[in-house]
């Protein structure tokens, strides 16, 4: 019985296109949050691009440190084409509590990629949806929204991004 269930289960998973989830190969749950200007920017609006979902906060020292590195990667890869489309995008989700901290950081550091936040800090529903245990945390998804890698940083992150883009 158990074996039959297992076989049946794996059959379903091969038949069904990528299930929504948080494992590599899963389709990511969509995120719809306000930008600094207040308009909603959804993750799904970036379909076709290789997207790094970067969960961060201005209060998180290692995240802040990483922003300069992300700026470099963004500049280097945003115009590159990928297997499923064109371009590289960063979708920054700030677990922030107060808007001025977030807004000031963005303008001071000239962050020019997508930034969204519901200003709910650790109570953000997205922290629950993405089962975030601590920051920094990131997810790299392909043009279909399928997870390629999770929580890569430094050279490992750059290698993975480069691997999925045609220069």
């Amino acid at each position: 019985m158990a074996v039959a269930l297992l076989v049946f289960g794996s059959l379903i998973s091969t038949v069904t296109a990528q299930p929504t989830g948080l494992e590599i190969g899963n389709k990511t749950p969509d995120i719809r949050l306000p930008s600094v200007k207040g308009d909603t920017v959804s993750l799904s609006s970036q379909k076709g691009k290789l997207v790094l979902i970067d969960f961060w906060g201005t209060w998180c020292a290692p995240c802040v440190q990483e922003q300069a590195e992300l700026a470099r990667l963004y500049k280097k890869y945003k115009q590159a084409s990928s297997a499923n489309g064109k371009g590289f995008e960063i979708y920054g989700v700030a677990l922030e509590a107060k808007k001025p901290n977030w807004e000031n950081f963005i303008s001071k550091n000239k962050i020019n990629w997508i930034q969204v936040s519901d200003l709910k800090f650790w109570r953000s529903p997205v922290a629950k949806t993405y089962n975030i245990q601590g920051l920094p945390f990131n997810v790299l998804i392909d043009g279909r929204g399928v997870i390629l890698a999770k929580n890569l940083h430094g050279t490992e992150l750059e290698k993975e991004i480069g691997k999925n883009l045609n220069k």
Partner: protein
């Protein structure tokens, strides 16, 4: 001869020093500079139990981080900033020294948190006798929100 003796003594001294460091090391696992003791760490489950029972005496809970999340806690703001630490000081000035006080931040592990040390050091320097640090080893999400403990509206 004298030189070799000197070396021997130095080696011995170095050995003694290293050994003493090793021996005292277990006590510094929480960080030698941390202005709190193991006994001053309050388990989240224990605070949740108290908050859920209106009959038990309620502590004064201060949020000294980004946001007040624990039910009934007073939002001071990050005490890494002098103005927020000053706000806390002014509130504490009005309290008897034996008041039951709990502080928490919960942004990140204590080793990386910029707010818990200034607040705990202040309580210590003001000679309070009954204050605790809420033990959120990972963060307020994993160790409080995800456990379903009581939260602010």
């Amino acid at each position: 001869m004298i030189k070799s003796m000197k070396t021997k003594i130095l080696t011995l001294l170095l050995f003694a020093f290293t050994t003493s460091m090793l021996v005292t090391n277990p006590f510094s696992s929480q960080g030698q500079s941390d202005p709190w003791t193991q006994q001053q760490l309050l388990a989240p489950a224990d605070l949740a139990k108290v908050l859920n029972n209106p009959k038990s005496p309620q502590p004064i809970v201060y949020s000294i981080g980004m946001q007040a999340i624990v039910k009934g806690s007073i939002d001071i703001g990050p005490t890494m900033r002098a103005e927020n630490l000053n706000t806390l000081k002014q509130k504490l000035n009005k309290l008897p020294k034996n008041s039951q006080i709990v502080v928490y931040c919960g942004c990140c592990p204590f080793s990386r948190c910029p707010n818990v040390r200034p607040a705990m050091a202040l309580l210590k320097s003001m000679q309070f006798t009954n204050y605790k640090l809420l033990n959120l080893p990972q963060n307020v999400k994993v160790d409080w929100i995800d456990k379903g403990y009581p939260m602010t509206e």
